[in-house]
């Protein structure tokens, strides 16, 4: 019987983990230890519900309600001087908690501080676009949709960004295998020749970069070229072609290859 593998996370797993191993935590510090962050958090808390806030590796992390994201971003930009949205993406926690954690990485140049706004959404929950607050969210949200399938409401141009428009599936989900699902593996064949060609082409020559040395009409391995149209069968020995001019090598007048010696003793 085949061993059971979980389907909700098909990413690589460590082959061995000590069963008594408890992973340590990156230390979290109280927000009050930093005056600037404490003031920022107070301003956010005055208007919105904050479920958790701490400082980790010199940056403040604030967990908010996903419904408030647009208003929080507006507050950060207009009042708290966070003038850049450096990055925004999601993290797949579907297997463990049934949804995504979305983070917004903020930078304030005046305060020289970096802040991370985070929230948790269920898998089918949509989020509000912030691309009208920070223009850079435009592409970041498109990438988030492309990679995770997180639906963003109110985005001006919601299309896939890295994958082709007609792609199926979202590659960064933990359920998506590293080498692609069936759709991904047959994408080119399906698109160019149609699905019915799958059985004709077969999985072994699906790879366009594959080199077949018996294929005389396209490419053979370097040094093992065969004549155009020559018939070859699979059992034939390899025939490396030596590059040599017909008249022998230019400028070498008298060389008898039968008399030439291959030196084996390197100290000779």
């Amino acid at each position: 019987m085949r061993a059971y593998t979980p389907k909700d996370d098909v990413q690589k797993k460590s082959y061995y983990t000590d069963r008594y191993y408890v992973a340590p935590q990156v230390p979290k510090f109280d927000v009050e230890t930093d005056d600037v962050f404490a003031a920022d958090l107070k301003a956010i808390k005055a208007k919105f519900k904050v479920s958790e806030a701490y400082i980790q590796v010199e940056q403040m992390v604030v967990y908010i309600n996903p419904k408030n994201i647009h208003a929080v971003m507006t507050l950060l930009k207009d009042e708290l001087e966070y003038n850049q949205l450096s990055e925004c993406s999601a993290i797949d926690f579907i297997a463990a908690r049934g949804g995504f954690e979305v983070f917004y990485q903020m930078l304030s140049m005046n305060k020289r501080k970096r802040l991370r706004i985070k929230f948790f959404i269920k898998q089918d929950e949509a989020i509000q676009s912030v691309s009208d607050v920070y223009r850079s969210a435009d592409w970041a949200e498109r990438e988030m949709y492309d990679m995770y399938g997180v639906i963003v409401k109110g985005h001006p141009f919601m299309k896939r960004i890295l994958m082709p428009d007609d792609w199926e599936g979202h590659p960064l989900l933990k359920t998506y295998p590293l080498h692609g699902d069936e759709f991904a593996q047959w994408y080119e064949v399906d698109k160019i020749y149609g699905k019915e060609a799958r059985s004709v082409i077969g999985p072994e020559i699906r790879d366009a970069a594959r080199v077949d040395r018996y294929d005389t009409e396209r490419f053979a391995r370097l040094g093992h070229e065969v004549d155009f149209g020559a018939k070859f069968d699979e059992n034939q020995a390899e025939t490396p072609i030596k590059y040599q001019e017909d008249e022998g090598v230019f400028m070498i007048k008298k060389l008898d290859s039968s008399e030439s010696v291959t030196i084996t003793d390197r100290d000779r």
Binding site: K13, S86, M109
Partner: protein
């Protein structure tokens, strides 16, 4: 008789009539001055662009997916393939992020060598930028000159790590090798001549009528627009924001060296060009100071952190426990603590950030690479409208985008 298939339908059945006379032009993805696989869908009124849609993804290799299936050390060489013009900067950004996560301090000699690599890479990247942009505009001579100097730097890096483009010259916790014997002398020789070389380029370009016409008041980015689009590096500094991560949030030894951050408030192509030239001079200035730092350092190259970083070769070969530890670290990989970290560094192109979310396993649970070029391509949506077709080439040139890190 035309043989139709799915890729070549009957074009007789498609009508191209439009109500207006707007033309849709596909620029790329195979275009010599698109700096890689950039496709721009440009809507034109005569020769003027009214709408632009950058289309990326033609070089997408799924590095973030690969990272989730690799141990940390295994992933490091993949970062070479992001900004392949300055590979060590990517290696460094990733290594620094992991070091922050596992809280490891790197020995001083390793820091000095990393500084040398980072600034050499910055020079290589800027020289490459100058060469290709000048070539796009039509200045062939500058291309040849700048590549000559870049070749010298590549030879230097080759002396150090054996590779010319994909260096992998930084390790998590330090550097793998000490400098070869004549590295610093050779570097100093190069730096002594660099000001003359930069002056040569400037003599060819600064007052060049064609260069100025193609560069001045073209591709002007306002301060608000640059901030809004998440621009960083020279793109941001040319628009009047004096923000350099090396200066503002110093990492490595940048707080010990003396250098200036050039910036301009013009925001056009020409301002960016002048900035790149000045940054090269500043890089040389940093390098001179770092060369002098090397002499006083003790010879350790890798941090001592037995839980995360392999021991030195000599320990491994003499002590049984070190060998076991190395074996575990190579086969299973290090297991950083549970937590997350975002570490920005100033790569030659701008803010290169690595966000790592670790759940305590040997593979990153999530790794997000914040590549500067991604946002510098996004800005083309708003920047190109109003410009003319020839300006597209010079604007793409000065944004200094590289597709390895846009598509990742």
């Amino acid at each position: 008789m035309q043989q139709p298939n799915r890729l070549r339908p009957f074009f007789e059945n498609i009508t191209f009539d439009r109500d207006d006379n707007e033309l849709v032009l596909n620029f790329g993805p195979q275009h010599p001055s698109a700096h890689g696989q950039l496709r721009l869908m440009l809507h034109l009124q005569q020769e003027q662009i009214v709408k632009s849609h950058p289309d990326i993804g033609y070089l997408h290799r799924g590095m973030e997916k690969m990272a989730e299936n690799m141990i940390y050390n295994e992933f490091l060489p993949t970062t070479d393939r992001m900004d392949y013009i300055a590979a060590s900067s990517n290696n460094y950004g990733f290594a620094l992020a992991v070091e922050k996560l596992i809280n490891v301090e790197v020995p001083r000699r390793a820091k000095v060598i990393r500084m040398l690599l980072l600034e050499t890479n910055r020079l290589m990247s800027h020289l490459f930028w100058l060469a290709t942009t000048a070539l796009d505009i039509g200045a062939m001579t500058v291309f040849l000159y700048a590549f000559r100097e870049r070749e010298y730097l590549m030879d230097l890096v080759e002396d150090y790590c054996g590779a010319r483009l994909t260096h992998s010259a930084v390790r998590i916790g330090g550097v793998p090798l000490d400098l070869p014997d004549n590295f610093l002398t050779d570097l100093r020789k190069f730096l002594d001549k660099l000001p003359e070389n930069i002056k040569d380029y400037e003599d060819l370009l600064d007052q060049n009528r064609i260069w100025k016409m193609r560069m001045e008041n073209v591709g002007t980015i306002s301060k608000e627009m640059a901030l809004d689009w998440g621009c960083s590096g020279p793109m941001l500094r040319a628009s009047g924001v004096n923000w350099d991560i090396r200066k503002e949030e110093p990492y490595e030894l940048y707080d010990e060296v003396d250098f200036d951050v050039p910036f301009s408030d013009k925001g056009d192509n020409y301002a960016r060009y002048k900035l790149y030239m000045e940054e090269m001079r500043q890089s040389a200035r940093i390098l001179y100071q770092v060369i002098d730092m090397y002499a006083g350092t003790s010879p350790e190259l890798m941090a001592h952190a037995p839980k995360f970083i392999s021991p030195s070769k000599i320990e491994m070969m003499t002590q049984n426990y070190s060998l076991q530890q190395h074996f575990v670290l190579v086969t299973q990989g290090m297991r950083p603590p549970v937590g997350e970290v975002y570490v920005p560094t100033e790569s030659p192109k701008g803010e290169l950030g690595f966000y790592i979310n670790s759940q305590g396993g040997p593979y990153p649970y999530k790794l997000k690479m914040r590549a500067p070029s991604f946002w510098h391509t996004g800005i083309l949506t708003d920047l190109l409208p109003g410009h003319y077709i020839p300006d597209v080439v010079s604007i793409i040139g000065t944004t200094n985008i590289v597709f390895g890190e846009i598509d990742r």
